[in-house]
């Protein structure tokens, strides 16, 4: 239906991750006193970035699987992926 939701998810979290990483790397370390001295922007930004990338990868895998299904002639009507 419409678009594969993993694409907007991938795009949003990649961008969020990049924003947080850049801000985390550039910001004053004294900012992180309240987060127990951990640069949460930097580390969590990296996690979000990898999640975004994973979504892109899963979307590619899903698209390939769907294409394979279509190439099989007279495949059962079910499309379970």
């Amino acid at each position: 239906m419409g678009i594969d939701i993993r694409l907007p998810l991938g795009a949003l979290f990649t961008l969020l991750g990049l924003i947080l990483i850049v801000y985390g790397a550039a910001s004053d370390p004294s900012l992180y006193g309240q987060s127990l001295g951990i640069n949460v922007n930097l580390y969590w930004g990296a996690v979000l970035l990898s999640f975004g990338a994973l979504m892109f990868v899963l979307s590619r895998i899903g698209a390939r699987a769907a294409a394979r299904l279509e190439n099989i002639p007279q495949s059962p009507s079910s499309s379970t992926h």
Partner: protein, 594 residues
């Protein structure tokens, strides 16, 4: 809020609206608009099934309850949701999805009769409008209290009293645009987006908080066993923080209220009806149950941490957001302040009351620097908007299919109903805005309405249970049973009172014959009485009215429907396997947090 926080919020808004615009192209028929073309994959529908219920009120409210009642709040997830989600997926979805009904009220018409459908459709439509209005009011109030927009408003020279109106207006417009364009698919996509945002915003919060208080064992040492055990103490209502005994909890919350919501409320069931196949529809609630099982650690835990932290005036250096003149509360939860006088509100013993609803927002402000703070607030706002969109999409479907097409204008073209659905989205949101302002002006009316909704909802599951599993149940019986159940709820409420409450909206308006140890206990028992009355009356009336023709009930009743054919799925993806895994996980969690 600093520039970086606004950037993150803006990015989210751009995505939400962008998804609406992209999906507009694939909305061609009313089925596309109201049921997402029945083409949603199971995992997407599953996450939406869970997130449609996860409005901001839920996030804020669960954190508040965590601070108030402790880990026992997780009963609302573990016993109050998981079993019902498993039941609807395994046993009920074959009839909802298999009957090709387009809504829950439509199933009632197919199974029973027109009047039962009408009763359910009209009460549901009114209810969704008011609940979306009430949550809109709640979030606008929260934004006002947190002073997140104050800086910008000052810079732009706008009056800070407009923040409430601004918050309502902006959220109404955003939700309107994306549901108007993309219909249910748009709402579902945004619910999935919101799900991941909540995890992204709250997981680091729980981590930092837990690290700060010395882990779970540190939390246990600070708060004591009454906060950190979910079952011990439940043998009697007076020995636990909830003020409920195990039977009232298991029957009232775990059976009547939870099955009544997760198995019959169109708001969530609609997500499963949009799934692309029978097996996807059955797996929808089961897939949703996995994150549901783990969410207490994201939304309840921050509340516990907030109350466990050393009491201090919570003013993080960069945020001029919390008024420092406020007297300290407990932990980092501030005291409740009367909006008109500016004085702390006192309970009946003269002690200051805590504003538990600020537990989660205070945690965000306490631990998150700019950047993460933007992400956390965006997650809150996202959960609010998708909760509201859930109500709006359920409303426009029930309005168009069950009210407009049935009673006002039957037999029109599909394009006409698609137009009606879009129009209903507009006036549904307009009514919600009106309800939000009504909640702001007349708090009592809203309390009363919510009470009436509770009376209407409580007996519903008895009707569905009998309808789906006993072919003898008749339409007259279903209708009479529902009315009797609602009446029983009202009478029970009128005859009882929670301890320490005054007669009136809290109960006892007929006569006080019994006093419950807490309001929660009264609610649970009201539901138990309503359900039992509906169950018994429906059976009795069924037996004295003419049995329905069996040929008409094929696909609607368990004993007359062939077992759904299983698609060839890997063993671990089958509904029964998923159900067993999620139930085992829930039992394990209950044992760990005994």
């Amino acid at each position: 809020m600093t520039g970086i926080d606004w950037l993150i919020l803006g990015l989210y808004f751009a995505f939400v609206l962008g998804i609406g615009v992209i999906l507009k192209g694939s909305v061609k028929t009313s089925t596309d608009f109201f049921l997402a073309g029945r083409a949603i994959p199971a995992w997407v529908a599953g996450l939406a099934f869970m997130s449609a219920n996860l409005g901001a009120q839920e996030v804020i409210g669960m954190g508040a309850s965590g601070a108030k009642y402790g880990i026992a709040t997780s009963h609302f997830y573990w016993i109050g949701a998981i079993p019902a989600m498993v039941f609807v997926g395994i046993f009920m979805m074959p009839f909802y999805y298999g009957s090709r009904a387009r809504s829950v009220p439509e199933y009632l018409r197919l199974r029973f009769d027109e009047k039962t459908r009408g009763l359910n459709a009209i009460s549901f439509a009114v209810m969704t409008i008011f609940s979306s209005g009430i949550s809109m009011y709640a979030i606008a109030k929260l934004i006002q209290t947190l002073h997140v927009f104050d800086g910008v408003f000052q810079r732009l020279g706008l009056r800070s009293s407009w923040i409430f109106d601004f918050a309502i207006l902006i959220s109404a417009i955003v939700v309107l645009v994306y549901t108007f364009l993309g219909g249910l698919s748009s709402a579902i996509y945004n619910e999935v987006l919101q799900f991941f945002l909540i995890v992204a915003g709250f997981l680091p919060l729980s981590y930092l908080g837990l690290k700060n208080v010395g882990g779970w064992s540190g939390l246990k040492a600070t708060l004591g066993t009454s906060y950190t055990h979910s079952w011990s103490g439940l043998s009697h209502a007076n020995t636990n923080r909830l003020g409920v005994e195990w039977f009232g909890l298991a029957m009232g919350l775990g059976f009547v209220l939870s099955f009544g919501y997760w198995c019959t409320d169109f708001l969530v069931v609609q997500r499963a009806m949009a799934a692309k196949s029978m097996s996807a529809a059955r797996r929808t609630p089961l897939i949703g149950a996995f994150p549901k099982m783990l969410f207490p650690f994201l939304v309840i835990l921050p509340g516990l941490i907030a109350i466990a932290l050393p009491t201090q005036p919570a003013v993080p250096p960069h945020a001029r957001v919390v008024v420092s003149a406020e007297p300290p509360g407990k932990g980092i939860i501030p005291m409740k302040v009367d909006a008109s006088s500016g004085l702390p509100m006192l309970d009946k013993d003269g002690k200051p009351q805590l504003d538990y609803d600020l537990a989660v927002p205070s945690m965000l402000l306490h631990y998150f620097p700019p950047g993460m703070l933007g992400l956390g607030l965006t997650a809150l706002l996202a959960s609010f908007m998708s909760g509201m969109a859930g109500n709006v999409t359920a409303f426009n479907t029930v309005w168009t299919y069950d009210i407009y097409q049935s009673y006002i204008r039957p037999g029109a073209t599909d394009a006409h109903y698609l137009w009606m659905g879009r129009t209903a989205t507009v006036f549904g949101i307009a009514f919600s805005v009106a309800a939000a302002y009504m909640a702001n002006r007349f708090n009592n009316i809203m309390d009363m309405l919510q009470l009436v909704f509770a009376f209407v909802n409580a007996p519903l599951f008895a009707t569905f249970l009998l309808g789906m599993f006993w072919k003898r149940t008749t339409g007259h019986a279903a209708f009479t049973g529902l009315l009797a159940g609602t009446t029983a709820a009202a009478i029970h409420h009128g005859l009882t009172l929670p301890a320490g409450a005054v007669v009136g909206i809290k109960g006892g308006w007929l006569a006080v014959t019994h006093v419950y140890p807490s309001e929660m206990a009264q609610n649970f028992w009201t539901a138990i009485y309503a359900w039992s009355t509906c169950f018994v009356i429906t059976i009795i009336v069924s037996l004295v009215t003419r049995a329905p023709e069996e040929s008409k009930l094929v696909g609607l009743v368990y004993s007359l429907t062939p077992k759904p054919e299983e698609e060839p799925l890997a063993w671990y993806a089958r509904p029964a396997t998923l159900a067993l895994m999620v139930l085992a996980g829930t039992v394990l969690l209950n044992i760990i947090f005994w």
